[in-house]
Amino acid sequence: MLDDRHGDAFVAFEHVQKSYDGQTLVVKDLNLSIGKGEFLTMLGPSGSGKTTCLMMLAGFETATHGEIRLAGRPINQVPPHKRGIGMVFQNYALFPHMTVGENLSFPLEVRGMSKSDREARVARALDMVQMGRFINRRPAQLSGGQQQRIALARALVFDPELVLMDEPLGALDKQLREHMQFEIKHLHERLGITVVYVTHDQGEALTMSDRVAVFNDGRIQQLAAPADLYERPENSFVAQFIGENNKLPGTIEELSGDKALVRLATGEVIDATPVNVTAKGQQTLVSIRPERVEFKPEMMPPGAHMIGATVVDVIYMGDILRARLKVAGSDDFVMKMRNTIGQTRLEPGQRIKVGWHPADARALDPV
């Protein structure tokens, strides 16, 4: 499924560049292969180029340079209506002057399908999203979540092999959004379609995707499965964009294979895993997830370094306790503790020692 060889890729971007004004590149040398049946999410802050990539794939924007291939066929010159790609828009784009049934029937009509075939397909697609009884409603008579389902059904009704989704859940409330995430994921698995999904919501990206491409500044910063992305970010941008993250700036003191010692600005030495540092003396930013920070020596691996910390405050969040610590001169170091029965309750001002497994501290490029 995650085959990266170009010949087998279902969708391939090759050296794609895009500029709107001839002055700046919005997309800089994009290379991306998407396998058949894969759920790939393009994640990034606004202006990172992810939506532009989606629009180039859909055919609404032309690539300034490079080639986009769909099922081995270059599609740069193919107009959108001949690409056969289903698309779900951010605002759903349900045609307001047509009923739900007419909306779903539209892609079948323009394909010249007979009336009876159309009706059967529309009914099937509506059942798929449990909206069968709304066939004669107008979009304006539906709630946001219902419109979302109809938009989904319309993008799927003509059996496209590739479906693009442009922040489709952005307008829904949190509960509904989580529910729809589950449903979209379920549909993807059931129909075996390829999905390219654009979002700026990292939770959504991690929950739904097979792989996530993190965009920033017109480039893919990291392309990986959700777990890898969260646990093994390859650079500081990804580490900070995905999830909560502690960062400790320092210099490489020692470097040997997959182990490194980093000396912090305040003089302490900590363990880290070198990721994109190559030499002693290099500046680095060590990234540690708050839930991987330990303050009980018995939980630490043997020989691990620990450094002194002062508790600034502890916030009770129900499932976890979130402690803010002063570490190495900065007081925004966060530690998350599970709220178990025997959990030690820390008090503000308390002096403790914290440490982590060397594999959880990643020495990344300094920002």
Binding site: A58, G59, F60, P79, P80, H81, K82, R83, G84, I85, G86, M87, F89, Q90, N91, A93, L94, F95, P96, H97, F106, P107, V110, R111, Q130, M131, S143, G145, Q146, R154, A155, F158, L164, L176, H179
Partner: protein, 437 residues
Amino acid sequence: MANALDPHAAIATTAGGLTDGGLTDGALRTADGRPLVRALARSQSLARRRAFLLVLPLLAFILITFVVPIGQMLQRSFYNDGFSAHMPQLSQWFAGNPRGAEPDEAAWAALAADLQASAEARTIGIVGTRINYDVPGTRSLFTATGRQVRRGIEPPYQAALLEIDEDWGDPALWSAMREASSPLTGNFYLAALDRTRADDGSIQQVEERQQVYVMLFMRTFWLSLVITVITFVLGFPVAHLLATLPMRKSNLLMILVLLPFWTSLLVRTTSWMVLLQQQGVINDILTWLGVIGPDGRLQMIYNQTGTIIAMTHILLPFMILPLYSVMRTINPSYVRAARSLGATSWTAFRRVYFPQTLPGLGAGALLVFILAVGYYITPALVGGSSGQLISNMIAMHMTDTLNWSMAAALAALLLGAVLLLYWVYDRMVGIDNLKLG
């Protein structure tokens, strides 16, 4: 799980609750026992009175400057007492004798007495004018006879009056006087539809060479339709461009659209004369280019072509602005969605974009059509004889023939036709779908 997300269940419950509250025979009371309805009315009356005071000046203005004068004017179309008020005896004789009865000596006596009284009261001109509407050339008959009758007239009156002028024996004249003897009359409407009453009172068409009004009505509606279609064809792409161009460019274009709107009507019409006349700019250019010979200069003004060109230009903004305001609200993702669903750009336009512009198109078409139907100055200036519309005829009756009743009848028919069209539009498209910007 769909049920949990279904908001309609919740709406149904709320609606049920509301109905229950309203139907308990108005027995709802406030905490101190007063009927709720009265308490509500009291609490709102102050705000309502204040709102009414705010609109009062406008209401009075409309009443004084529109409703009253227009009502009075329209009243003239079916009520004209120019004859009946000043010829009471003859009017009474007409009331007492059936249509077709030969005027007997009593009738002639009544006529002579009325003429005498009217001539002394110096109202004979009003009477003559009234009859002159129906039988052209009779105003002088009344005034001349009036002068002689004032000096005295002896019976038998029939012979005496016929001696003064034998035209008094004309049955058409007597028929016209009978029609005018009642102040309430539908004859102006008949005339406005090229109909007249024969001597026996039956309705018939006027002579062919006198049939003008129906033809003018038809021409007015036809030209208005043509102008509406042309403004649509020309205005739609401009409105689309305005709605899709980046702000700075569209602002510039908008100024170009509005510029003719702000220019004086006379200036615009005059510039069309400069451009279109036979020795005008366009003909000069065409001749210079060799498209037409010096003898073949085109007649583009002082005919229907001139009316159409000048009116299209003037009415174009009324089509563009409502279209623009609707198009601006159409999200481009609709067309994109249609394209991604497999529609060619033409199909996407036809099935998805165009239907959404209909509220603007309806508003624009209705505006342009109604304005065109009542247009007066432009056709008067550049229309020649073949480009005159019904409004020019109304103006003629107001200012030249002074037959205000006729003008009122024509105007009432025009107003009726427009209201009818409005009603048809409402039934077919729905007025609430209208978007004027």
